[in-house]
């Protein structure tokens, strides 16, 4: 039996399976990925690959018990690790620039907006699962909203997570630096962030904000 298995393994080196081919251009086209510039295309591919490989990155703590999903937030998965992994620094990828109406058409829901005036920029991700709202004033703020996705986070062992309420909805405040895998970028380091759910939409607010400031902005969301 051992010889037969050995021969079968050896056969792998010579068996004439069809040559590898690049499937990605067709996949990209069907996902609606535009090709504005080569570097962006590369970044998109890298981001998709890294996002897909995030399971590997998130497998750093093999213990299942380290995965925290007890905050009543279906769209948030937090993994506690002993040491945060190094994440690559790659060009930022924001997705497709759009308007509020455009985002609503693509996502199937109207993005909630904070009481900060119109966003400076609005993007949807390439799979049309999430919207990204960027504000410059009064602070640089990044808001993401999704109804069918999940935010994945890695926090270090001593990070103190705090359960909070946002207008009667469950939320979590992550006060310190952590790794986030979202819809727009490769896994990256993030500062403090607030996550909460509202009417089936998971929202994420990131910026140089105190907990009180973040909660005040979160509670101002409408409609």
């Amino acid at each position: 039996m051992a010889e037969l298995e050995h021969d079968l393994r050896a056969l792998a080196a010579v068996v004439d399976l069809p040559a590898e081919r690049d499937l990605w251009p067709a996949v990209e086209a069907r996902l609606g990925v535009r090709r504005p510039t080569p570097w962006l295309r590369i970044a998109v591919v890298v981001a998709a690959a890294v996002a897909l490989a995030v399971g590997i990155a998130f497998a750093v703590p093999p213990a299942r018990g380290a995965i925290l999903r007890f905050f009543g937030l279906e769209g948030v998965s937090i993994v506690r690790v002993e040491k945060l992994p190094r994440v690559p620094r790659l060009p930022a990828v924001f997705g497709t620039r759009t308007t509020l109406d455009g985002a609503e058409r693509r996502l199937g829901f109207r993005p909630f907006l904070p009481d900060l005036g119109p966003p400076a920029k609005i993007y949807t991700d390439y799979s049309n699962r999430a919207v990204l709202l960027l504000y410059r004033r009064p602070h640089p703020i990044r808001i993401e909203e999704t109804r069918i996705g999940i935010f994945q986070k890695l926090v270090s062992g001593d990070e103190r997570l705090e359960r909070v309420g946002v207008g009667g909805s469950p939320g979590v405040w992550i006060p310190d630096a952590h790794v986030v895998a979202d819809f727009f970028d490769q896994p990256r380091m993030s500062g403090s962030a607030l996550l909460w759910e509202r009417d089936g939409v998971t929202l994420r607010l990131e910026g140089r904000l105190t907990k009180a400031e973040a909660l005040e902005i979160a509670r101002s969301f409408s409609p």
Binding site: M1, L4, E5, H6, D7, L8, R9, A10, L11, A12, A13, V14, V15, D16, L17, P18, E20, R21, D22, L23, W24, A26, V27, R30, L31, V45, A48, A49, A51, L52, A53, V54, G55, I56, F58, A59, P61, P62, R64, A66, I67, G75, S77, V79, S127, R129, T146, I148, G149, I150, Q152
Partner: protein, 161 residues
Amino acid sequence: MRAHQAIAFRTAYVLAGDETDAQEAAQDAFVKAYRALGRFRPGAPFRPWLLSIVANEARNRRRSAGRRQVLALRAAADAAPGDAAPSPEAAVVSSERRQELLAALGRLGDDHREVLACRYLLELSEEETAAALGVRRGTVKSRLARALERLRAELGEELDG
């Protein structure tokens, strides 16, 4: 994602038995995997998850094409005189033995041929093979043992006969 396209395509080829179907199945699987990323369980290995989607697409195509006997395996052409020396792996299996093995594989039933192809030709792990074939790991083990027995019988290598 791109890093997985070779194994996705080859797995689809083994299960669909046709290059065009395999290419379409792998592409469809990537699109579905990308859109289903939110359902991917953090901490779970990624490749089995992707391969299970690929395999579903490939099997659906094979079914809709009504193909039964699939995967005509061939050995790559033997090196012509003057070519680079064959790889050490290729060199240890004679050309005649290769043809015997491939012919015997071709005579096996789909289940047996597929489990052998996944484990030995695609070099998938047990977990990946289970995902690709849509069965439990224990089934992979038992099916593999039976497939090897069957293959030995086809090769006339039974211990008792």
